[in-house]
Amino acid sequence: MGYSFPEEVLEHVLSFIDSDSDRNSVSLVCKSWHDIERWCRRRLFVGNCYAVSPAIAIRRFPELRSVSLKGKPHFADFNLVPHEWGGYAYPWIAAFAEAYPWLEELRLKRMVVSDEALELIAKKFKNFRVLVMYSCEGFSTDGLATIAANCRNLKELDLSESEVDDVSENWLCQFPDSYTSLESLNITSLSSEIRFSGLERLVGRCPNLKTLKLSHSVPLDLLPNLLQKAPQLVELGSGLHTKEVHPDLYSKLAGAFSGCKGLKRLCGLWDVVPSYLPTLYPICFGLTSLNLSDAPIQCPELIKLVSQCQNLQRLWVLDYIEDTGLNALAESCKDLRELRVFPSDPFGQEPNVSLTEQGLVSVSAGCPKLHSVLYFCRRMSNVALSTIARNRPNLTRFRLCIIERFCPDYITLEPLDVGFGAIVEHCKDLKRLSLSGLLTDRVFEYIGSHGKKLEMLSLAFAGDSDLGLHHVLSGCKSLRKLEIRDCPFGDKALLENAAKLETMRSLWMSACQVSYRACKLLGQKMPRLNVEVIAEQGHPDLSPDEYPVEKLYIYRTVSGPRSDMPSFVWTMDKNPALRSS
């Protein structure tokens, strides 16, 4: 080393580097760069809150301003993870309260957040600005009231998809009159009534409010007033339902929407009265994102709406849109990047709408920028999948859910291996894939050989044998998250690819065939993995070792087994010999 590079210069350079992976690369250059980098890192993303402890995170990064944490595995969204599995935010927040008095942002996903945790946030972080709790639970409106009352500089409060105990209707009124910094508010998940006057006053005094996503309980009558007070809105979530039809409400609403010249994103529309939809037409041209997945709008009205949204980039919609609606979408919305079609009647035995694979094929043909797809339907064919793959080699996310399990190609009655094979073969940048329908080990052979950029894979009711799992674990070089339910995968593939598991964030397997014995073996051999066995029916020691475990969650960690497990979760012993028997 002939010269020394001034730290301040390097710090300045690093301030332009945001990406986590770039920062991680920087810290590997040499010891001094590692040291400089850790002191100036301001944002931290922890994809699995049990992969590292708060203490380790704080020791390495002493000056954080923004932290994102994720708790429960993704399958918790579908009730596959038992309640009280874990994912508690409090220990993190308590540790941060001591270490980062200047923390500004907390983004939590699938975590359990108590009112005590919210109180800590409210009282300990003097410059707190952003609180996002996506799909969280464990707190009430009392906790929100404390946030409102104390966080003077709060810019964003987002409770998307969270379960909130609605105990007080006037928590919004706890924002003091002097508080004017709100920029983004998402309270869609709140179920009970809120004080509307409080909401109106809040909206009126916050000139930088850009995102406003309301709950079902906010009546339509209130909307024109709110919109008039916030014409600068960029994103709106609201219902369009009223118990009584007012003739002048319609014109007031139409006028208010026209006044929102900058509105780009729209969602909500639960219980929409179709006759009110035309009030939206003036803003359609400016919309880039439209989320109608909660709106029971039928095909004809959907077509009218969507045909006017020529600048649409993202559409989430129910399958009421049907194939004809998707054809219209393909013709009108050439800038479409993301499509999600959700089922209106997921548990019905018979199809209730005329939505088939053809709709998706149309959109794949007509929308050149489409790269992200989530599609629920009731039939699929290999030829359709191959067509989609050839039309759209730029797909990065492809999640197909054929509602009927084990559903074969409806034309040939073959498995859908070849179709999904075409997807992974042609879509070379595919990062996320969810499979469904009738699938053999063959599809996993394709995925293993072609899915080199695949980071997340979701499997259900698929495959024939361990070979399937082996193909995936040995072939998918970039795999980070693998979640499997009800597949005939067992010990062999798992144990032979044990080392792979340390290169991944996590593996979830439920209703598969991994034996308790294999779990114990894995736990012993791989000390940097937590092998968690979930057994609600009783301690796995009570049944023979060959019996398969109910649910298995394996993740890499640098902090050893966690200490907050409920009674039905066991981490496999890393050093069974050291235990006194």
Partner: protein, 224 residues
Amino acid sequence: MQDFKFDTMPSNTADQSPDSGTTAMSLKDTELTLGLPGGAQVVIVGGKSCSKRGYTDTVDFRSRCCSGESSAKAEQVDWPGNEISGPGNAPDSKAQVVGWPPVRSGRKKALKSCKYVKVAVDGAPYLRKVDLEVHRSYQQLLMALETMFDCFTIRRNDLEESKIMNPVNGAEYVPTYEDKDGDWMLVGDVPWNMFVESCKRVRLMKSSEAIGLAPRTPSCTSTT
């Protein structure tokens, strides 16, 4: 890079086929599986051999699977998984599997909750079921009922009042419903949403029998 051989272990696909979650063989008998009572209950996992399920279930499974004939592959994979069902399932109803299809529970709440109630018409030989959630007003409900039962029509007079009557014998009907408390009320008295909340079943009663309920003729106006 650690790579280790798979130890010799008893095959997972032997006839033992332990179902996930059972703790002892004796529990197998009490286990909930698909299949009619008395039928063979063996559930095979692992893609080998055939499933000895009750006939109705095999038929049920095939007919559900998008086409008339399912391949051999389709037939043999059938998981105990997380299925919740009881013996004696009617062939039409399929056991609902936990977490499938993968829709979020929040989303499930947002969808129709399907409030089916039985509808009986005096003199009609059969009961029908109607989903109250699908309709938004009494008017809509009555129209749906008119389609469902062909023994009556709804006459509307100039005053916008509706009468339900049988065109054949001229008998008039009074729509009544049983509420949560077990009381029989006249349809139309309370706001629509309240009605949907509390209605347990509906009965179109012959006017001559509708004694004891409110004396006036119910008028089904367009209350939402």
